[in-house]
Symmetry: C2
Subunit: 208 residues, 2 copies
C-alpha cells in the first residue's frame, strides 16, 4: 500500500470532492486538473472527457458507499429491521461531518447527479438507475429477513417497499441539503421504518 | 388578456422550460435569449444575471404549482386525508405528460434546483427552503383537519409528518426521474399516506 496514488486515481478523487460539493456542470476539466495536480494532457490520456471521468467517479462513490456504509450494516448480525435505524444514524453522522468540513450538508452524491443529469445524459441515467436497483436490493433482502424473523408481516411486498425506502432516503437527503440541516436526517429518518409499518405484525403494537 | 407577453415574461417562461428540462448550469444567457426571442441587451435590462432570472423563475414555478396543483386539491371539500391520493394521481399525470412532451420524466423543478444549487448559492437555497416551508404547510393543515375529522390520531405530529410527506414526495420524484418512469409516482405514492399511518386511529383498521 506504500505507492502514491496515480494521476487517474487523483482525478477520480477530485471529481468526487468537487462535483460532490457543487455540481457536474459547475466544475470544469481545468479545475479538476488543478485540484488533483494532474496536467491536462494526462487527463485526456485517461479520460476522453469530463463525462467519462464522472462515470468512473460514480462507480467509485458507489463502491465506497457500499464498503463503508451499506455492507457493514446490512451484513451484520443485528435483527434485520434494526438495520434501518443504524443506517439513519450513520447517515446523520455523515452529513453532520460534511457540514463541519464544508459548511454545507452535501446530500447524496449519487442522488445529486441523478437529478442534475438524468434528462441530459442517458448513459449516466442508466448507470444511476442500476446503482439504485442494487441499493434497493439491500433493503429488499433486509425485508425478506425481517419477514422470516417475524418482525414484518408476510403481506409485505419486499420490492415495492425497498424502492419506497430508497425514495424516502433520497428525499430526506434532499431536505437536509435544502435546509442545510443534518438533523433533518435524524428527525425524519424514522419514516423509513414507517414505510414498512402498516405491514408490520399487529402483535408488535402501534409504537414500532 | 389580449396583450402579448413582455420580454421579461418570455425570459422567465424560457428559464422554467430550459432549466427545468436540463439544469441551471447547463443553460446559458445566450440560449435563454435565443429561445425567448429576446435580445441580450434586453435580458440585462431586466436581469443583472442568469441567477436573478432564476430567482424570479423559481417564484413563477412555485406560484404556478400552487395555483394549478396544491390550491385546487387542498382548498377542496373532499375529506382531508383523501387529498394526498389526489395529489399522487395528479403528480403521476403531470410526469406522464412531461415524458410524452420531452421524452423524459423531468421531476420536480424546485427539487432539481435544490439539489443542484443549495451548496453553491445561499440566496437560492434560502428561497427554496422558504418554498418548502410553505409547501409543507399545506400538508400540516391537511393533517390538522384529518385529526379534527377523526381520520388521524390526535398523537400525530403535524409538523414533522408534513416534512416527512414532502421529503417522500421529492424522493419519489427523484426516483421517477432517475428511472425515467412516471409509474414510480403512482406505484410508490401510497407511501405518503403510510407516513401518517402509524398515527392513524386503530379503529380505521390496517388497510387504510
Amino acid at each position: 500500500m506504500g505507492r502514491t496514488s496515480t494521476a487517474k486515481e487523483k482525478l477520480i478523487t477530485s471529481a468526487i470532492e468537487l462535483i460532490g460539493n457543487r455540481s457536474y456542470n459547475a466544475v470544469g476539466v481545468q479545475e479538476l486538473c488543478d485540484h488533483s495536480g494532474v496536467k491536462k494532457g494526462s487527463f485526456y490520456h485517461f479520460f476522453p472527457s469530463k463525462r467519462d471521468l464522472t462515470l468512473e467517479a460514480i462507480d467509485a462513490m458507489w463502491t465506497k458507499f457500499k464498503e463503508q456504509m451499506l455492507d457493514p450494516i446490512f451484513n451484520s448480525d443485528i435483527p434485520a429491521f434494526e438495520k434501518l435505524n443504524v443506517l439513519i444514524n450513520k447517515s446523520y453522522e455523515y452529513q453532520t461531518s460534511a457540514k463541519e468540513c464544508t459548511g454545507c450538508v452535501t446530500g447524496c452524491g449519487i442522488g445529486n447527479l441523478a437529478l442534475e443529469l438524468s434528462t441530459q445524459d442517458e448513459i449516466i441515467r442508466q448507470k444511476i438507475e442500476q446503482i439504485f436497483e442494487e441499493w434497493a436490493q439491500y433493503f429488499e433482502d433486509m425485508i425478506v429477513d425481517a419477514i422470516n424473523e417475524g418482525t414484518l408481516s408476510v403481506d409485505t411486498d419486499p420490492r415495492s417497499t425497498s424502492q419506497a425506502i430508497l425514495a424516502y432516503m433520497e428525499g430526506v437527503s434532499l431536505m437536509g441539503k435544502t435546509f442545510n440541516d443534518p438533523t433533518m436526517l435524524s428527525r425524519l429518518g424514522e419514516g423509513m421504518t414507517q414505510l414498512c409499518i402498516s405491514k408490520k405484525k399487529v402483535a408488535l403494537g402501534d409504537n414500532m
